[in-house]
């Protein structure tokens, strides 16, 4: 059944930094078309998980598989080209490039390999595609602005636009609502839902804002000290005593 098709899974994934086990035998899977939430207290290893999946870190042990192929050990650019887009917890736009150029840069996923990088980048098709994506995330008014002048909420949208330009099958969003106003959070949540519903992109979401995470996710994993301590629908996770303990401490868990 297509709905249950697994698009990405990890096998015994470990990432140690010296003695710190940032990821400790993590086995997770992502189903095609779902919004998967990854939550957990600070330092639980959520961002490390993203960095290992996207190739920025090499796993200490274990492997990551994307549509059946092993991707751990590949270079991040290769993984991006295969169709995994990501945003960063602290936004990383190309500050001195315009919004349009930022998105065009990501339209080159195929041009950066082989010798096709010798070709012109500003073709009508590329510009049109970039403008369409910019419209999708609602940044049309800022097309020719350098990215550095955008407010934080718009920078996040720009990062999402850049990731979309990769035509990703899977999109990893690292705290897309951090530092935003209530109105901006509502808009970004709406956008994330649209990406899945209208464009059919599978989404993995690290989120600190519990209400956003619970509201968006179809299914969640809870990480604590590098281990998966719970899995399930938002309702199941909310009720799980282990999760409450991880967030609030043992005494709270006992009382509730």
């Amino acid at each position: 059944m297509a709905a249950n098709e697994v698009i990405l899974h990890t096998e015994d994934l470990c990432k140690y930094f010296g003695g710190i086990k940032a990821l400790d035998h993590v086995n997770i899977y992502v189903r095609k078309g779902e919004i998967l939430g990854i939550i957990g207290p600070n330092g639980a290893g959520k961002t490390t998980l993203f960095n290992v999946i996207t190739g920025f870190y090499r796993p200490t042990r274990g492997a990551v598989f994307f549509v059946g192929k092993k991707i751990s050990g590949l270079h991040p650019a290769k993984i991006a080209k295969m169709g995994i887009g990501r945003t960063f917890q602290i936004t990383r736009p190309f500050k001195n490039l315009t919004v349009l150029q930022n998105v065009i840069a990501a339209c080159g996923r195929d041009a950066y390999f082989g010798l096709s990088f010798l070709k012109r980048y500003r073709t009508p098709e590329v510009v049109e595609e970039a403008l369409r994506i910019i419209k999708d995330v609602g940044l049309t008014d800022y097309v020719d602005q350098p990215a550095k002048v955008l407010p934080i909420g718009h920078m996040r949208r720009l990062e999402i636009a850049r990731a979309l330009a990769l035509k990703p099958k899977l999109l990893l969003l690292d705290e897309p609502t951090a530092g935003m106003s209530a109105k901006e959070i509502e808009e970004i949540s709406e956008l994330v839902r649209r990406l899945r519903d209208e464009m059919g992109i599978t989404i993995m979401l690290v989120e600190h804002n519990m209400r956003v995470a619970m509201g968006l996710s179809d299914r969640m994993y809870v990480l604590s000290y590098g281990k998966v301590i719970a899995e399930g629908t938002p309702e199941e996770v909310r009720e799980n005593p282990l999760v409450i303990e991880a967030y609030l401490g043992r005494s709270h868990a006992a009382r509730s």
Binding site: K81, F88, F94, A105, G108, R109, F117, L118, R122
Partner: protein
């Protein structure tokens, strides 16, 4: 003749600075050893023409090629380095190259190589205005190359690396490959300039390519405006021509260079013609829609 000499030198420097501008201005990789590539080009051409008797027209592209290849080497060494570590590595590279020029007999030791022939075209020796014409032709070629670079995915990849290496990787730019290319292409242009330099002066020695020369090239690059097409020409012209115009102040040249750099970094860090600089804004107002520098 005096003016022709000045213009020839200015354009030769401009070519080397244009190369440096690709490495530093577009790709954002600090290179404080550009003079070494100038030297590699100059010595390649000198050796090929004097010892092997090859024609200048063969030696010129081979000079660019040899500098390009050494550029790949430096790029590969520097892949994991950034900012001050990269700066130190490239300085060290300059010193090592100069030491090799000095100690290996094939480079002529401290005297260098003399008797480098003038290029011959249709039986005519190119000198004076004719040589200037040749240099100008190579210069125009490099400008065209630079214009093409700005519009290609290659140039786009360079700019993403300059802006943010992590984000560049996340959009599919293989940072390693493009960093090496940035060094190699910049080095190749310096190699071309080196060959032209050797056949202009007709003698080359290690002392022409020391660290101080790299700093000179750097000043030209920063003065004109990093990451622009027009910057390197403007920078080279100003740094070469100004001291000539103020001959009585010649003794204080180093002080002037330093003062210019400090003032620039304080007031116009993007260079005279860089993005959003004072001159660029004024020129834009004057010329309406015409765009200066990379957008």
């Amino acid at each position: 003749m005096y003016y022709i000499t000045l213009m020839t030198i200015t354009l030769i420097y401009a070519i080397a600075v244009m190369g440096l501008n690709i490495t530093m201005g577009y790709a954002g990789q600090v290179n404080l050893g550009q003079a070494a590539f100038l030297g590699i080009g100059a010595f390649t051409s000198a050796i090929l023409t004097t010892r092997l008797g090859l024609s200048f027209w063969v030696a010129l592209p081979l000079s660019a090629l040899s500098a390009f290849l050494v550029g790949i080497l430096l790029g590969a060494i520097s892949i994991r380095l950034r900012y001050d570590f990269l700066a130190m590595t490239t300085i060290g590279f300059n010193f090592i190259t100069v030491a090799i020029f000095l100690y290996y007999p094939i480079f002529g030791g401290s005297f260098g190589i003399v008797g480098i022939p003038r290029p011959v075209l249709f039986g005519l020796k190119l000198r004076g205005p004719a040589y200037l014409g040749l240099v100008a032709a190579v210069f125009v070629l490099c400008v065209l190359l630079n214009l093409w670079l700005e519009r290609s995915w290659l140039g786009m990849a360079f700019e993403t690396i300059r802006e943010d290496e992590h984000a560049a990787q996340a959009v599919g730019v293989d940072v390693r490959t493009f960093k090496i290319l940035a060094f190699a292409i910049g080095a190749g242009m310096a190699g071309l300039a080196g060959s032209l330099y050797a056949h202009f002066k007709m003698c080359v020695a290690y002392s022409d390519f020391m660290f101080a020369r790299s700093i000179e090239l750097l000043s030209m690059c920063v003065l004109g405006g990093l990451g622009t097409i027009y910057g390197p020409v403007l920078g080279s012209a100003l740094i070469i021509l100004l001291p000539e115009a103020f001959r009585p102040l010649r003794a204080y040249r180093l002080i002037m260079h330093t003062a210019i750099l400090i003032l620039l970094i304080r007031f116009q860090p993007q260079g005279l013609l860089g993005r959003g600089s004072f001159l660029q804004r004024k020129l834009r107002e004057l010329l309406g829609g015409l765009r200066f520098g990379s957008q």
